[in-house]
């Protein structure tokens, strides 16, 4: 049943204009970066900065819009013998999968026809993995918000605030903390703080992968020491997964008991 809902969901999404625009955005950007003479590794590094801002924003806004627009449709389907949990997964995967596919396709295609080296491919795949995780996480956050708040202005506004918080304000807070407590050894607390932000987690994972942590100075060295180890990698991937599981579960529970 989930697959049936998903099938029609995917057909609908893949025919919409915004998903095509989304693919083109990543495709053109990666292509242009290649043309500017970057090798695959450099392109991945530049793409990282864009992806870390664009993906959370696009995913959370599109996700919230999508679910608000599908409200009547959800009601209609729920009047058929469809179980709520089936419908939730159908709707969730129905948006998250196309977004991941659009992003992954758009980024990887230029790598294919530019015949990137193995190293560059590794970086690209890491990029796609992190980007996909962020997509799913922020779609999940959007779904939770859209299910929690019936008022779409409130839901969308909050989505925007959450996104800005994680992309900009959170880093500001970390900087502020570092500044205030500059006479204390702060590496460990900052390490812990960055686990609480999915975007920072993504950045750290990528930076270490691309071997440019030296750019971050002393902090980079500390991060390298921790996140570079198998334990650190496990912890960071685990926290990213936690970031995925918590909003999805919250949205799912909400969907099961919600009054439509």
């Amino acid at each position: 049943m989930i697959l049936k809902i998903l099938k029609y969901q995917l057909r609908d999404v893949f025919r919409s204009r915004w998903i095509i625009a989304y693919v083109l955005f990543f495709l053109v950007l990666t292509d242009v970066l290649f043309r500017f003479g970057g090798d695959g590794l450099r392109v991945a590094t530049s793409m990282m900065n864009i992806i870390l801002i664009v993906i959370p924003l696009a995913s959370i806004i599109l996700g919230a819009f999508y679910l608000y627009n599908a409200r009547e449709y959800i009601e209609l389907l729920l009047c058929h013998p469809v179980k709520r949990h089936q419908l939730f997964w159908g709707m969730f995967l129905g948006l998250a999968l196309p977004l991941v596919a659009a992003f992954a396709g758009g980024v990887m295609l230029p790598y294919l026809y530019n015949a990137a080296s193995a190293d560059a491919w590794q970086a690209a795949l890491m990029l796609v993995f992190t980007g996909s995780m962020l997509t799913v996480i922020f779609v999940a956050l959007a779904y939770y918000l859209a299910l929690r708040f019936d008022d779409r202005i409130k839901g969308l506004g909050l989505a925007l605030v959450i996104c800005l918080f994680f992309t900009i304000i959170y880093d500001g807070i970390i900087l502020f903390v570092i500044y205030i407590f500059s006479s204390y050894p702060l590496e460990k607390p900052v390490l812990a703080l960055s686990l609480l932000n999915p975007i920072d987690l993504g950045r750290i994972l990528l930076l270490l992968q691309f071997d440019i942590s030296a750019l971050m100075g002393l902090t980079g060295a500390v991060f390298r020491e921790f996140f570079g180890t198998p334990l650190g990698m496990t912890v960071s991937v685990a926290s990213l997964l936690l970031w995925l599981v918590v909003p999805v579960t919250a949205g799912f529970r909400r969907f099961l008991v919600k009054d439509f």
Partner: protein, 253 residues
Amino acid sequence: MICVNALNKKYGTLQALLSVDVEMESGRITAVLGPNGAGKTTLIKSILGLVKPDSGTITVDGILVNGESQYREMIGYMPQLARYPENLTVTEIVDMIRDIRKTASSRKPVQNDTPDMELWDRFGLDSEKDKPFRTLSGGNRQKVSAVLAFLFRPKVLFLDEPTTGLDPVSSSILKDKILAERDGGTTIILTSHIMSEVQELAEQVVYLLEGRIYFEQTVSELLEATGQTTLERAIAVKLGREPEMVTETGVAS
């Protein structure tokens, strides 16, 4: 047949339904009426399982509504405003609903397996079948939604403002179909703002006011008791207000 027993529902501090008891018999058209915010939608959505009531029980054809989805096999629903995925064509939407129904009913085959396409043919929807849903006019959307409601020969049918946006011809086709289904023993629940339509179709009126059942009567009883010839006037008199007042406050709607 639908039995609603001591149904309560609160939205925050707003009491949407207050110990509502209703029985809707099969082979009859019951109109649920009341001013805006009286709880009509909440009542219907509770029966459909979209809204979870705080207390009380609902049974549809003897099956308790408790969050299970299987009973909805018997139900056809025509919403006031139908919105299907915008980029799917009309044919795809019909196929999708049939697909969804197929698995659900595979456990116990229904006696009437062939879908009821009578309305599709009579509305002449063949000319629209390859258009994406987003390009359809309001009337055509309404037609699609009517076809889908009747498609599986439901035992229970919910019609929320069914004739809104329909031209007179389509509207009559739909009304004929509704009456034919009623004669076939279907339980039909109707809401409408057009009192002449209610008078034409419904046998029973359930009038909600502020979350309570204000009265529940057959149309003929209501007309007789109030000495009026139209349902609109009869309800106005029943509510004990001047007819002019009624239109102003929208009570008759």
